[in-house]
Each structure stands twice: as structure tokens, then as C-alpha cells.
């Protein structure tokens, strides 16, 4: 398996997460003047997006991410996104977080599966990064961090061979194997079947560098073409127009990895009933992984994973709901099949003086610099965390 897969997995899943959060925040936002203290406004949304993106592209984290290493276990990766989603004033209940993660993973699985060439996974990643840059287009500081990562991607991956990309693709597909959660936006668009499997089209443009199937050319022993024949199949392919750009800026051509959510299309997932494939996936998740705790400690450190205190003054606070109503969220939490629960591990950072110094230094780097007038109450827990060090 390829030891260069993790950055692609992390960045693409992160990109999908941002698309979904952005859509939900827009759907639930109220114009600034009319909003009560506990309702979302546009300013809040931008701040949440900024905070998460800043944390995601943290320099130290990126350095660690790009080191050759095996993929994290599903549990470890899920915890990373838990922390990431809570890097700002936003809170998600378990049910909403579960749904968010389901959507993210199924979306990226779809993109990996449908990539025309193995190296097009890079174009998918660039699509996500282009969109992320759009989210923070008015914050030059973070924009710089994202561009740095972009350059690093180009440096690390542009020179890899097709064979190496295919290995990366296979590593990703193994990670996503046996996941068949049904996503309503996919079902509606007919890209997913009712059994949870994706529709693989047998028409459309062939990958760049591939010819439309059908031609047989025969050569003599002197290398001269002596015969042509054709064969037909059910497929209906055409030649592609042009190749996507692998530069820092450019037309990616490929649509996979672009934002498919819009404010008017609520996204739901449906849990498939118990089946053999689900159980086998669950068993793999539940098996104890002694290394997972090690990885999690390190990640938790990097993302400033301290105990997150409950917001003062009531439960609802600044909670984001991935469902349409609170009742739906409650119901989803209760009816989620046991085998699909993610069993997130909670970690407390240690109190050793050495580590504390490290933590405060890293947290210092993660702090969002601009002062935020009039939002003292909302950022309460974040500030409390800072004060506590």
C-alpha cells in the first residue's frame, strides 16, 4: 500500500466537510440585525469557516501529515475530524457529527471510484483546495497557508507515475471498502443505487490518454499496419476535450471534487438495514488497535485537543444541526444501527510541564489573530480554553 495516501485522504475529506458545513450554516443563518444571541449569522458562518480552515492548514500539522506513513485507522481519522469540526464556536451533537462524517466519506469514495485516471485524484484534491481558497478569499494570512499546502502537493505528487497513483487509489479504495451508506442527494441524482452502490457510467469522455474502445489494428512482422477491424460494445464513449490543469491555478476540467451542495438541497442519509457486509465492516472498526491511541495523542496535541467545556447558559448554544429539525436529530441518534456507530475515543492531553509548554506554543500558533468585537459570549469557551493554559 502507498505511504503517501494520508494527505490526499485528509484534504479531500476536509474539503467535503467544509462544503457541508457551509451549506448547513447558510441554511440556518439569520440576517445579522434580526438574529438573537444564539442564532447563526453570516459573520458567524465566515468565522467558523475561517477557524476550521486555519486549524486544518496549520503548518505543523501539514508537516506531520506529509511524512510517509500508513493511513490512520477509521477511528483515529474520525476523531481528527471531530476535533476539526469543533475548532471554532460551533458544536455538533453526536448524531450530527455521525451524519457529517457519513456524507464526507461517501462523497469522497464516489470521487475516488469515478476518477477517470488514477492521477485525476490530484485534480479532485485541487478542486477542493480551489473551493477552500474561495471560502477564505478575504483572509490573506490563511490564504497563504493554503497556497503553501497547494505547492507542497504539486511538489510531492506531480512527478509520481501512473503506477504509483494507482497504488494510492487502491489504498483509498481499500479504506472505503464495504461502505454503502445511502445519501439522498446521490440517490436523487441517480449516481447511487438504492442498494448503496454507486452507478458507474459506461458512456461519456474516456480518460485523457485513453482511446475510445472499438479499434483493432494488426501489423506485419515488419511493423507495417496491414489490417483494421472494429468491435462494438454497449458502451458509448467519446474523446475528451482537454486535460485538466495540475498547476497552482488553472481549469481542472474534472467536476469531481467541486461543491455539489447548495442551500436549497437538504442532504439526508439513510441507514441501510443490517446486512452481512455492514457487520464485517463494523467488526473491523471495533477490533482494538493499540497504535490508535498513539496516533490520537499526537493528533490531539497538534489540534489542541483539550477537554471541551460546555457553553455556559444552556444546552442549545451555537449548535449546528445536520438534520432539518432537532427531533430528527434525536431520532437519528436513537435509531443508528449499533454496527455503524463510530465509537469515538476521547483523549485528555497530559499535564506534564514539558508538554504544556509545547501545547501552549502550538495553541498560540493556532490562535486566530483578529480581534472580534461584540462576540465575547459566543467565543466564551474558546477564550476560556486559552485562559486555562
Amino acid at each position: 500500500m502507498s505511504a503517501r495516501t494520508l494527505p490526499l485522504l485528509f484534504l479531500n475529506l476536509g474539503g467535503e466537510m467544509l462544503y457541508i458545513l457551509d451549506q448547513r450554516l447558510r441554511a440556518q443563518s439569520i440576517p445579522g440585525e434580526k438574529a438573537r444571541k444564539d442564532e447563526w449569522t453570516d459573520v458567524d458562518r465566515k468565522r467558523v469557516m475561517n477557524d476550521i480552515i486555519t486549524t486544518m492548514f496549520n503548518k505543523k500539522f501539514m508537516e506531520e501529515l506529509f511524512k510517509p506513513q500508513d493511513l490512520y485507522s477509521k477511528k483515529a481519522l474520525r476523531t481528527v475530524y471531530d476535533r476539526l469540526a469543533h475548532a471554532s464556536i460551533m458544536r455538533l451533537n453526536q448524531a450530527s457529527m455521525d451524519k457529517l462524517y457519513d456524507l464526507m466519506t461517501m462523497a469522497f469514495k464516489y470521487q475516488v471510484l469515478l476518477c477517470p485516471r488514477p492521477r485525476d485524484i490530484l485534480l479532485v484534491t485541487f478542486n477542493h483546495l480551489d473551493a477552500i481558497k474561495d471560502f477564505i478569499s478575504d483572509s490573506p494570512g490563511i490564504l497563504n497557508q493554503v497556497d503553501e499546502t497547494f505547492r507542497r502537493l504539486i511538489e510531492t505528487y506531480n512527478c509520481l507515475s501512473d503506477g504509483e497513483f494507482q497504488l494510492i487509489r487502491q489504498t483509498l479504495l481499500i479504506f472505503f471498502q464495504d461502505m454503502h451508506i445511502r445519501v439522498s442527494i446521490f440517490l436523487k441524482d441517480k449516481v447511487q443505487n438504492s442498494n448503496g452502490r454507486f452507478v458507474l457510467p459506461i458512456s461519456g469522455p474516456v480518460p485523457w490518454g485513453t482511446e475510445v474502445p472499438g479499434l483493432i489494428r494488426i501489423f506485419s512482422h515488419k511493423g507495417v499496419e496491414v489490417k483494421r477491424a472494429e468491435f462494438t460494445t454497449a458502451g458509448n464513449y467519446v474523446t475528451p476535450q482537454r486535460e485538466g490543469s495540475f498547476e497552482l491555478y488553472g481549469d481542472r476540467v474534472l467536476k469531481l471534487g467541486t461543491n455539489m451542495y447548495s442551500v436549497t438541497r437538504p442532504v439526508e442519509t439513510q441507514m441501510s438495514g443490517s446486512s452481512k457486509t455492514l457487520t464485517s465492516q463494523a467488526k473491523e472498526n471495533i477490533a482494538p488497535n493499540p497504535l490508535a491511541k498513539e496516533e490520537l495523542n499526537f493528533l490531539a496535541r497538534l489540534l489542541g485537543g483539550l477537554d471541551i467545556q460546555k457553553p455556559a447558559g444552556g444546552e442549545t448554544g451555537f449548535r449546528l444541526n445536520l438534520f432539518t429539525t432537532d427531533e430528527e436529530e434525536e431520532h437519528a441518534a436513537q435509531t443508528r444501527p449499533e454496527e455503524l456507530s463510530y465509537k469515538v475515543i476521547n483523549i485528555e492531553a497530559t499535564q506534564e510541564p514539558g508538554r504544556r509548554a509545547e501545547l501552549s506554543r502550538i495553541l498560540g500558533e493556532l490562535e486566530v489573530a483578529e480581534p472580534r468585537p461584540g462576540s465575547a459570549e459566543k467565543g466564551e469557551d474558546l477564550l476560556a480554553l486559552m485562559d486555562g493554559l
Binding site: 459506461i202 482511446e211 460494445t233
Partner: protein, 262 residues
């Protein structure tokens, strides 16, 4: 990967992984031999694995590695005294597949072909010492799978093409725009020269290779196509030496699909 290696004296089940090569008795009862690859302490940027398995020359099992080297193991008729006889170092890219001659070897054509990530093919003559007879350079696309029959090399590529090469001269004899995606598997039925190809485009094709002894014409014809709906085909093998039946596997598929005459 897993492959049956049929030698005159015995049949071995050979497995390759990121750790190395394992060989088992054909009933899976005992592990006959185990060869570990040099795995670095920290994961390196370049992956380490063994890939590509073939029985050759009546007494060898050849296994490819991600370093580009091909390991040649000498297999005794009985017992566990397997030795590493030779290491072939002609490829500079990870080996993808290895195939031994399944029909009549032609003069000067060699009886083993090895393929790698860059699309380069090497032709060998097996024996106490293996001899490199020829090299066909790649042209930008990974050669993912290869077969050898009656001196015809049939190679499947990541860009969906199947090419036929003449093993003796290294000349290209046919080029087929066979699939719209990466070809994962090629198999050959030695009694009839039928060729099976399976790819990520959901299609499995059956072709017929032929070689005329007098005119030296090499031909490939399309016989049959199957579309495995919504499945990326990962494996395809004939179930009998005449190629009347074949089996297919795919990503996310927990079943093996078998196809036969109506």
C-alpha cells in the same frame, strides 16, 4: 496477490504482500517457504511489496518486487528446501506482472516475460541461469498485466489498450483500444488461444489470438463482451483450459461471478 504455481512435480500456492513471499502446499496445509522483503524501519516514500507471480521453466517460481527486481526461486520436487536461485535486475520500476509461456515456445523467443509500472517488458529464457533475450520499452502507460502464448506477448495497459508483441523480435503485432479504463486482469486459455481482459470500466472481453505457422501472421479477434453493471472488475480468470467458462471479481463485490456457455 495469490496464484497457483503448477510445476511438473507439485502445485504450490504462492502469496505476495508488503512483507514478502509465502508459499504453501496446494491444500493449504503447510507453509513450505517464506521470503521476507527488506522493509525499512520507518515507512519510506516508496512502497515496498512483492507483486507478480509465475511458475517457469518446469522448476522455478518467479516473483516480482517493488524494487524492480525479479526473484527466482528453485523449487525441489518435494519438501521445503526452496532456494533463491537468482535475482534478475533489469527493471527500474516496480514489477506489475510476470507470465510464462503457456503454448509452444518459438525459437529464440524465450519462455518468460516480466512487466513493470513504466510499461517496459523484458523477455527471458529460463534455466540454471536466466538470460535476457530482449526488452520492449514502455511508452508512458503502465503495463498492468501480461500473458505469453506461442511466442505472442499479450499485454494490458493502464490506458485500456491491449498490445500484442512478438516475443522473438520485440515487434508490435497488434494494438487494440480494448477498454475505457485501467485493465486489471488478463488471462489466457492455452488450448484455444482465447484471451480474457477485465478492466475498471465494468467490461470483460473475450478475444481470440491466432498465429499462423507458415505465414507468421498474428491475429486478434473480438469474441464476446460482458458488462458487469456498476462494478469495477479487479480479477478475471478462465475456469478451464479451453476458455469456455470464466470467473470475475470486482471492487466492493463479495461474490465471484461465473460465466459460461448458454
Amino acid at each position: 496477490q495469490a496464484a497457483w504455481c503448477e510445476l511438473p512435480a507439485r502445485v504450490l500456492l504462492v502469496l505476495t504482500s508488503q512483507r514478502g513471499v509465502q508459499m504453501y502446499e496446494c491444500d493449504g496445509s503447510t507453509m513450505v517457504f517464506w521470503h521476507a522483503l527488506d522493509v525499512p524501519e520507518q515507512p519510506a516514500a516508496h512502497s515496498v511489496f512483492a507483486r507478480g507471480i509465475a511458475a517457469a521453466g518446469g522448476r522455478f517460481v518467479c516473483v516480482g518486487t517493488s524494487f524492480g527486481a525479479v526473484l527466482v526461486f528453485d523449487i525441489p520436487p518435494k519438501g521445503t528446501n526452496v532456494t533463491l536461485s537468482e535475482v534478475l535486475e533489469q527493471h527500474r520500476d516496480p514489477i506489475t506482472d510476470i507470465a510464462a509461456e503457456q503454448g509452444q515456445a518459438q525459437d529464440g523467443a524465450g519462455d518468460l516475460v516480466t512487466a513493470d509500472d513504466s510499461g517496459t517488458l523484458c523477455l527471458w529464457s529460463t534455466g540454471e541461469e536466466f538470460t535476457l533475450l530482449g526488452k520492449i520499452p514502455g511508452s508512458g502507460s503502465t503495463c498492468s498485466s501480461v500473458t505469453l502464448w506461442n511466442g505472442i506477448v499479450a499485454a494490458g495497459y493502464g490506458n485500456g489498450q491491449i498490445r500484442l508483441w512478438e516475443a522473438g523480435s520485440g515487434q508490435i503485432r497488434a494494438q487494440v483500444s480494448a477498454h475505457a479504463r485501467w485493465i486489471y486482469a488478463l488471462d489466457l486459455a492455452p488450448l484455444t488461444g482465447k484471451l480474457l481482459s477485465g478492466a475498471e470500466d465494468s467490461f470483460v472481453h473475450v478475444w481470440k489470438l491466432s498465429r499462423s505457422q507458415d505465414t507468421d501472421d498474428i491475429e486478434i479477434q473480438h469474441c464476446h463482451a460482458e458488462c458487469v453493471t456498476d462494478t469495477q472488475v479487479c480479477g478475471a480468470r478462465f475456469c478451464d483450459p479451453a476458455g469456455d467458462t470464466f470467473a470475475v471479481t470486482g471492487y466492493d463485490l463479495s461474490e465471484i461471478l461465473c460465466y459460461g456457455p448458454a
